[in-house]
Amino acid sequence: MFEIKNLKASLADEDKQILKGMTLRIGAGEVHAIMGPNGSGKSTMSYVASGKNGYVVDEGEVLLDGANLLDMEPDERAAAGLFLAFQYPVEIPGVGNMTFLRTAVNSQRKMRGEEELNAAQFLKIVREKAKSLKIDADMLKRPVNVGFSGGEKKRNEILQMAMLEPKMCILDETDSGLDVDAMKLVAEGVNALRNGERSFLVITHYQRLLDHIKPDVVHIMADGKIIKSGGPELALEVENNGYADLLNEVA
């Protein structure tokens, strides 16, 4: 179970609060979506939850199975089961994708007191999972995200997710910059990972992605908090009418 409780957070460099009391609760195996106008704090929420520098938590908690993630370093949050698929995956020249993946997987296993995977075991699993995401061997050998197309970068995020087997996945505008086919492929990758234990929070601007990744609950976020929650029909309403009506409702 993933819970955000009355989360208030500001930018570290300027005295500006972005999250103003956000509350959210996602049960095991559920898929929730967050939509909202630009600047409503969706990405900030994902960064604060995963521990990026540059934000100050003023109040609140982010709990994963009862443990407060905000007390942990980013790597500890990952080992606890949190995964953030980046809107803009970072290019890291010189670090091989495969080395990176294996280091990440084994670091997490080590932190959790599990046995590390040897090279052969790892290779077998990664090849299998890469294949289903149409990631070829060449992409695995290249430096992390360097020279990857937008679609390749996002597929690489999903591959990492598949390898790390997190309990809670936040997808930050995973559909941005993707054509229809690439989006389908990414959605298929995500759907393949859905099960009764794993939860998802899908941040998106467009209903389109939610045709492929069907959410249980849709939240509308504005000005740093959730202003309305409902079923998948809420996303359709946004698609048809925009946010104006919803914002007026709560104003």
Binding site: P74, D75, A78, I92, V95, Q108, L164
Partner: protein, 428 residues
């Protein structure tokens, strides 16, 4: 003992080393000229343009420093490689720790023996390349080396040499001054690899003069030992003929002061040269790469790739020059020097210089200095990699462009494993 009894510090420099065994006339003439050269240019000083960033005081001091001998449990660099091993202990050839001096396509002798011969091909190289390399920039420690060196190897490669010649520099005394001078000729079509490994002395001065004939290939790979307080000045002077290949890579971890100079003269067309280095310094560490590449032929390519990782007040210096003479058309020169500073106390000082007289050339150069990228660090950590390990991955990644300059993938992997070792020992 002190410096007071000498009229000037340069005489003190010449007096601090014992005289080498007397050689034949040409050798003694060359040494004598080097002595005069040394006196003429004087000792290196902070006011010299090329010593502004590196303080030569300890290099000039009469006494060599007292440096604890590092006992290592790890496998020495290049240990797994099949090679012809030549060992120097405190700067002196140790035949009992060396292989038989013969190999396919190779003629090897000790410097003292070569310099004793009345007629020897080395007469055209010994002190000659060094002298040529003294203009326009003085290199006083190299001149001093020619004047006083008795130790070193003289190698002539006449064909494809099946295994590299490995020069291992060991230490037994805590205080030692070693002056080693190698003379190398790679004949047309021959291919020679030289490996150098070890600190060699508490104060080491090496010179390597390399003559690569048309179509020859020369690969040089060096690891300068890990003894912390040691001092080293090295200089490579190479002349490259047409369609020849030259590659030199140096790994430096630790060492309180290192000055590595490389002077290349590209005189034949269609030649490719690469000079690269990776250094990692923590604390009392000053590392200086001073490179001078002259293009005096058509359609040649040269690369300078230097990467320095610095922490806890360590200093890295890069002075790299490309000189393209008027007729050296179609020159392709590349130069990159980068410092990765792991804290606010460390320094990276770079002076890239391009002097181009030909009009149809492509020369690119860049120099950057910065900290580990926070975005990348966060990305790695968000996948579960702990901060220290993530930073180490970034360090290795940063250095890799230099490592990629190494020709042999096997040797490159050996060097990479050393980098990993350093980052593990110097975590946090």
């Amino acid at each position: 003992m002190g410096e007071a009894k000498f009229d000037n510090p340069t005489e003190a420099l010449l007096a601090r080393h014992s005289a080498p065994r007397k050689g034949s006339d040409w050798a003694e003439a060359s040494r004598h000229a080097a002595r005069e050269r040394t006196l003429g240019m004087g000792a290196a000083g902070r006011r010299d343009e090329y010593w502004r960033y590196t303080n030569p005081t300890t290099l000039n001091a009469f006494e060599a420093p007292d440096v604890e001998i590092l006992q290592l449990e790890e496998v020495p660099v290049f240990d797994g490689v099949e090679k012809l091993l030549i060992t120097f202990v405190d700067g002196v050839y140790a035949p009992d720790q060396s292989d038989d001096l013969s190999g396919e396509g190779l003629e090897i002798s000790m410097l003292e023996d070569a310099l004793s011969a009345d007629i020897h091909w080395a007469a055209d190289v010994f002190g000659v390349f060094e002298t040529n390399g003294q203009s326009p920039v003085n290199r006083p420690f190299a001149a001093l080396n020619t004047a006083l060196a008795g130790q070193g190897v003289v190698i002539r490669a006449t064909g494809k040499v099946s295994k590299p010649v490995a020069l291992r520099y060991c230490r037994e005394k805590t205080t030692s001054d070693a002056v080693i001078h190698h003379v190398i000729r790679v004949e047309s079509g021959a291919d020679l690899s030289i490996l150098e490994n070890g600190a060699g002395a508490s104060r080491l001065n090496t010179v390597m003069e390399v003559d690569v004939a048309d179509g020859g290939s020369f690969h040089h790979l060096r690891a300068q030992g890990r003894d912390h307080a040691r001092l080293a000045t090295t200089a490579i002077f190479a002349r490259l003929g047409a369609e020849s290949h030259f590659k030199s890579f140096t790994l430096t971890v630790n060492g309180v002061l290192t000055r590595n100079e490389v002077v290349l003269d590209i005189i034949g067309d269609d030649t490719k040269a690469s000079v690269a280095g990776a250094c990692l310094g923590d604390g009392d560490f000053s590392h200086d790469d001073t490179i001078f590449i002259t293009h005096d032929a058509v359609n040649c390519e040269s690369r300078q790739v230097f990467k320095k990782v610095l922490k806890n007040g360590a200093t890295g210096v890069f002075q790299g020059k490309i000189l393209v003479k008027p007729d050296a058309q179609k020159t392709d020169g590349y130069q990159i020097s980068q410092g990765l500073l792991l804290d606010d106390d460390s320094n990276f000082l770079a002076k890239p210089e391009l002097e181009i007289y030909a009009d149809d050339v492509a020369c690119s150069h860049g120099s950057t200095c910065g900290a580990v990228d926070e975005n990348s660090l966060f990305y790695l950590m968000s996948r579960g990699v702990p901060r220290a390990q993530a930073q180490n991955m970034m360090i290795i990644a940063f250095l890799d462009e230099a490592i990629q300059e190494i020709e042999s993938e096997e040797l490159a992997e050996d060097i990479r494993s050393r980098l990993l070792g350093w980052t593990e020992r110097h975590k946090g």
